[in-house]
Amino acid sequence: MEKAESSVLVIGGGVAGIQASLDLADKGVIVQLVEKEPSIGGKMAQLDKTFPTNDCSICILAPKMADCYGHPNINVWTMSEVIGLEGSKGNFKAKVLKKARYVDENKCTGCGECLEKCPTKGLPNAWEQNLTTRRAIYMAFMQAVPRVAIIDPEHCRFLLEGKCGVCKKVCKREAIDYDMKDVEMEFNVAAVVVATGFDVWDPTRSTEYGYGKYPNVFTAMEYERIINAAGPTHGHIQRRSDGQEPVTMAYIQCVGSRNPRTGHPYCCSVCCMHSTKESMLAREHIEGIKSTIFYKDMRACAKGFNEYVERNKRDYGVEYINSDATVQGQTEKGNPIVSFDVAGKSHQKEFDMVVLAATLVPSKGNVELAKKLGVELDEFHFFKMQNRTLDPINSSRPGVYLAGYCAGPMDIPESVAMGSAAAAKAMEALVQRKVFA
């Protein structure tokens, strides 16, 4: 086992956790990076492009994911969760549960032969927002790191009934291991970085937007996958009802946020910009598409953002309407009808497709994780900063540091910066330990 004085535990392998891990590892620190999903990359890996430069998201993230996985000082533990943390700053003992993947990470080369042969098809592909299906053995996504298959134990015929075994037969690397068990591990670490990210709020919980009722109402995350060339429609924008290309599109902001009734009175900080980006990209996919963004306040308030919005209005012809908006039904053709106000008068307009900027909320797992880590959450279940002004990186427990959206709404560069900052604080803890041990 690694010595505590040279190790740090990072929880969450999104962009914030990756950055924290890389900074520490580059200083010679051993990092245990724990990720609950089968691949690192987090939400950023799912996005199509990034604002305000329209860089391809996975293209800029993938090298960092590869650096992280290949770094001699970083141990990446996918399918893993922290189940306990004892000790104190400089000397923690962390318990981690690694769930069985049923595929040996050291043997699987990600060739994909098993994926084509598995007879259990048609399972919802959550990573693709259930817009397409996968089989019982699958790859988290095309650029997954590690590029290792995973068996879904709830649907694998062999694991359920002891029959089938096709994947094992076709795997020339003998990587399939049906007998794999969950493993409990223990790490001695001097500090902990929490970087567990966020969940996308489910708008079926609100009746105002017709999501789940009218097929041509989408969430922004669904739409990110739709416009992605590697996504379920290979980048073709299509309506759910009839597969037709839309000509008019509406984007509704603040869905579930800035609204005390949903429990999220706050602003998620990124939706104004991602809708601006998405409407801009729609125009790049479909010549002549007409997009309208309904917003409360256009929060284009970081580097290059205001200019980006202005460019969207000027060069892409996207219309911005300052109003709350709801979806109040659909036409016979399946066009959602959007209701909004202009100059005090109420209007209704049909669109071919509606995209909801569903808010980003603290991960469901935060409550449980906070308990296990012995740290406090704020009233909305974000991880609580010790002092937002003076010590925004420190959690309520000494030696446990925060990075990224788990500590409050922020965009990618802020998450990256905070990942670095959390690495700095963890490094300080390591240095202190060496001095005072």
Partner: protein, 613 residues
């Protein structure tokens, strides 16, 4: 090296079916065997798997290979692995080359297998031609001066200095003013908790002052910096006295200043028209005049009025002050406990607003909807209006403050750039005429004080510093980071980092976060103790060099300078091998290690040959 017998080994990967499914790998392997100097060629199901790597190592020994070519997925992810394998077998890693036959061949030609096979042969012929001319390179390890300089002693710079110091490295904190604190010294309070800004600064300054690793240099500026990552020679000027110093890394945190709204909204025509920072000073110094009506105007000189950007923080600063006025006006004037009476003010707005009401369920305009009438709920009536375009109350704390301000009857009136509020001064009295969009009518108010929320802007010396350190400024005049998404506190030049408001508008917590982030990045070379750049750098043939200096201009990494003989000289540790200089040199005096003209031309010639067999 050129006389040595070339013995090239080629390893072609099936990548399961990723390559072999579309390319006839056995045929390609047989073809490769016919190429000059290829003494060994084989194929593996997975070259990157253990058996593949073992086969490379064994073949290097068995066949005395002195060049290795792997044809497989992509060098982006796998080149380091194979280079390491060569090195383990005693072969210099620069004698390895990668041929991309998956991402750039089998995957893009899935529907034309025969052509894909032909293309793979072409690519391999090119790779082998290149491999024949590869030369072994030595990587130089350069030591690092284990110290940092932080330029700027505001909250970002102090946070950076503290973290670098607490990671065990000495820091010079250079501040050009006579005290630490930067822009925050202007402020009365910090908005989240409405904490006293002076007290907050004192806490940070005390931490800095008591840290044994931090040397604070006031009234000082860095006037020269020469060198590269790990090894900078700097000169610090303190009131005319120069000090030579050596540091390994430089953190830039030079902060910001307020935009002065000359000619906008009557600024300068009345002492009661002030900027947001001037207002903060009035509050801080307890010089606030007696007020019954205050107007804040947002986006003065920003978002296209002069500067193109949004200054991010001003909405929240105005909200904080508006709320402070609504709740705490007496105290702000220093009247608390003095027995002074603040007079109630009659609403000054015309026409009367009796008929005004909010629209729709929970206000369809949602955001900056004008809230219902009335002054502060208790005590003296104080009318507070914020004219805004959008309220940038992003995140949790700002939005909650925004909601609270609305509860406190702070009125929010939205305007558009086409219809901005008009300020006039009529024999000392202030008048604002504005269009009320929801009511669709022209209105007037007569406040006692108008506060103009102007943006923060880059420092006067930003350009000078940018030229001294050769780091770029963006169009907005702020320092430009290496990558806006993924390298927010790095510059493209290794060894120099950036944080806080010199990079763009940021509030205090953001500046603190960025400061600590920059500290993390800056202390990487310090913690490693050395820098070891890849040996793919540029070299200047000083006999051919005419000293024109074109290469110095195009080098994005400040890696070239003129030596004492007037010739260009490359600092290998700073060079990233991008090749800009080589392409620019009119004398062909610059060549790139392992990307020489000879090597590139050999590859190009090979590409133009017909594949036989």
């Amino acid at each position: 090296m050129s006389d040595e017998e070339k013995r090239i080994g080629v390893f072609i990967c099936h990548c399961g079916s990723n390559i072999a499914g579309f390319i006839d790998v056995p045929a390609v392997t047989e073809y490769v065997k016919t190429l000059p100097d290829v003494v060994f060629a084989t194929r593996n199901l997975y070259t990157c798997a253990d058996d593949g790597l073992t086969s490379i190592k064994e073949s290097i020994k068995e066949h005395k290979l002195n060049r290795v070519v792997v044809a497989a997925c992509t060098p982006r992810t796998h080149a380091p692995l194979f280079q390491g394998t060569c090195q383990e077998a005693g072969l210099n890693k620069y004698l390895f080359t990668f041929v991309n036959i998956r991402d750039q061949c089998s995957w893009v030609h899935m529907k034309e297998k025969e052509k894909a096979t032909e293309k793979a042969k072409d690519l391999l012929r090119m790779g082998v031609a290149r491999a024949r001319l590869l030369q072994a390179q030595d990587e130089v390890k350069v030591g690092v001066t284990s110290a940092a300089v932080v330029i700027g002693g505001g909250v970002a710079g102090m946070s950076a200095a503290l973290s670098i110091a607490d990671q065990g490295f000495p820091v010079r904190l250079v501040e050009k003013e006579s005290e630490l604190g930067g822009f925050v010294r202007n402020l009365s309070s910090v908005y989240q908790e409405r904490e006293d800004a002076g007290a907050l600064l004192k806490t940070i300054i005390d931490r800095v002052r008591s840290n044994p690793n931090i040397e604070v240099l006031l009234n000082s500026e860095v006037i020269s910096a020469d060198g590269f990552v790990g090894n900078y020679d700097i000169i610090i000027d303190t009131k005319g006295q120069e000090r030579n110093d050596k540091v390994g890394v430089i953190v830039l945190a030079t902060g910001t200043r307020e935009y002065i709204p000359k000619g906008l909204y009557g600024y300068g025509q009345s002492p009661n028209i002030v900027t947001l920072t001037e207002f903060e000073k009035l509050v801080k110094e307890r010089k606030l005049p007696k007020l019954s009506s205050v107007a804040f105007i947002q986006c003065v000189g920003s978002r296209g009025q002069d500067k193109s950007y949004c200054s991010r923080i001003c909405c929240n600063v105005s909200l904080k002050n508006a709320m402070n006025l609504a709740e705490n006006y007496k105290n702000m004037r220093g009247l608390e406990g003095t027995g002074a009476v603040v007079e109630a003010a009659a609403p000054k707005e015309t026409p009367s607003e009796g008929g005004e009401r909010r629209h729709g369920r929970r206000g369809r305009r949602g955001g900056a909807e004008e809230s219902e009438e009335g002054g502060a709920s208790e005590g003296p009536k104080l009318e507070i209006v914020i004219f805004n375009r959008d309220i940038m109350a992003y995140g949790v704390d700002h939005e909650l403050m925004y909601n609270k301000a609305r509860e406190k009857k702070v009125r929010l009136v939205r305007y558009t750039p086409k219809n901005i509020p008009k300020v006039s001064v009529d024999s000392g009295k202030l008048v604002i005429d504005y269009w009320h969009d929801t009511l669709q009518m022209q209105r007037r108010m007569t406040p006692d004080l108008i506060v103009l929320a102007t943006p923060v802007t880059s420092q006067a010396d930003a350009k000078e510093i940018s030229m001294m350190l050769k780091v770029p400024l963006g169009q907005d005049g702020f320092f430009l980071e290496a990558h806006v998404k993924l390298r927010p506190v790095d510059f493209a030049t290794d060894g120099i980092y950036v944080c806080g408001t010199c990079k763009g508008p940021a509030d205090i917590p953001e500046a603190v976060s960025q400061g600590i982030a920059a500290a993390s990045r800056a202390s990487i070379p310090l913690a490693r103790g050395f820098v070891q750049p890849e040996a793919l750098s540029a070299f200047v043939d000083s006999e051919v060099c005419s000293g024109c200096g074109n290469c110095i201009e195009v080098c994005p990494f400040t890696a070239i300078r003129k030596n004492e003989h007037g010739k260009a000289e490359v600092t290998i540790a700073a060079c990233k091998g991008c090749g800009n200089c080589g392409a620019t040199c009119p004398e062909n005096a610059i060549f790139m290690n392992n990307y020489s003209d000879e090597q590139l031309l050999a590859e190009a010639k090979a590409a133009l040959q017909e594949a036989k067999g």
